[in-house]
């Protein structure tokens, strides 16, 4: 992969904060990554597409939400630690305030039948949505039978054996990393 391109030198902390604040306030339906791409690569031109994809793949490998990990990486890239903090605060603030207010209201009105009915419908829709997004992601990034084995082992470990995530990451994660370990040309299996 190519070296990262030089970021624009004149981006201020305030611009970083406001840009991520707007993304945090206007992205609905869970697809925050698409909103990030539109803003950072499209409108602002702070990153090019290959930078964005490289940062996204790091965000997906590390623990944490993709959206907040992206905020940290992009903010750091533009203005170092201060940029990372500004981006993280910006993207979290709107949703955090919304959920605080909603949580307070839920405490008072959550048991009303129409609220409960509406949220039940949203939960069902969300299950369909996450599965669809996962299928889409899986089609793109899983291309071998061995991948499906690791997916199945993970689901079995969590949902049937009720393993806790640290053990699962050590066992299945460790096995998967070992499976894809660096090999010399001689060791590589015949294609």
């Amino acid at each position: 992969m190519s070296e990262p391109t030089t970021p624009p030198a004149d981006v201020t902390i305030k611009e970083i904060f406001l840009t991520f604040l707007i993304i945090g306030a206007t992205s609905f339906g869970g697809g925050v990554v698409a909103y990030l791409r539109d803003s950072l690569v499209g409108k602002r031109r702070w990153l090019d597409d290959s930078d964005f994809i490289r940062m996204l793949s790091i965000s997906q490998t590390l623990p944490g939400l993709n959206a907040t990990n992206m905020a940290v990486l992009v903010g750091d890239r533009l203005r170092g630690a201060a940029g990372a903090i500004a981006a993280m605060l910006g993207i979290c603030l709107p949703g955090g305030l919304f959920m605080f207010a909603a949580g307070t209201m839920y405490g008072g009105h959550g048991e009303r039948p129409f609220v409960s009915a509406m949220l039940h419908g949203v939960a069902a829709a969300a299950v369909g949505l996450i599965l669809a997004v996962t299928v889409q992601l899986g089609r793109k990034s899983l291309d071998r039978a061995s991948d499906l084995v690791f997916v199945t082992l993970t689901v079995t470990g969590i949902n049937l054996l009720h393993l806790s995530i640290p053990y699962l990451l050590l066992a299945v994660g460790g096995a998967a990393v070992w499976w894809y370990r660096p090999r010399t040309a001689a060791e590589r299996p015949e294609p």
């Binding site: 206007t26 869970g30 997906q60 940290v72 889409q136 990393v177």
Partner: protein, 175 residues
């Protein structure tokens, strides 16, 4: 132990385990908040998760509402910091290191190996939510319709969530 200390412990732990995003830790989130600490019931957790779907920004900001429920405004603040700071610091550190590891052969192995595991964790989290959300055929129909619509059209997911809310009112309010 003090509730605030417990909140910090639980959410900092979840933060560092969230390989694959917030959905990946949902089974562990349910176990700790519902079964171990009894901060809320499973249906309430599903409800707050659904409110998170209606919220702007990252869906998992819904953890704020759990903190608010347990310990008021201070609880909300403590949970947000505990859930986002550890993974944020890790991303900051590893993000800088990652560029320097360009030539290290294990870097690609780690990325390649964790990809199917993180997808598996997301599916496992979805199954946990589905156990609480798909309580009958009506809910299953809503989920299936959304699944098909999303894959077959380029519709904005926010509209599908809104459609779910309306369908929920129609399907569950009368009964």
């Amino acid at each position: 132990m003090n509730q605030l200390t417990l909140l910090i412990g639980v959410f900092a732990y979840l933060s560092l385990l969230a390989v694959g995003g917030g959905m990946a830790v949902f089974p562990e989130l349910k176990l700790l908040t519902v079964d171990v600490h009894h901060w809320l019931t499973f249906p309430q957790l599903i409800h707050l998760y659904s409110v998170g779907q209606l919220s702007p920004g990252p869906n998992m900001m819904m953890v704020t509402a759990i903190g608010q429920r347990v310990a008021g405004p201070l609880g909300a603040l403590v949970v947000v910091i505990a859930f986002f700071l550890p993974s944020g610091l890790m991303t900051f550190g590893v993000g800088r290191l990652w560029v320097r590891l360009e030539g290290w052969p294990w870097r690609d192995a780690i990325q390649r190996g964790l990809a199917p595991v993180s997808i598996g964790l997301v599916i496992a989290g979805t199954i946990t939510i589905a156990k609480g959300a798909l309580t009958g055929w009506k809910a299953a129909v809503i989920a299936t319709v959304v699944f098909i619509f999303f894959l077959r059209s380029r519709i904005n997911p926010a509209l599908l969530i809104l459609g779910g809310a309306i369908a929920g009112l129609a399907a569950f309010a009368a009964g």
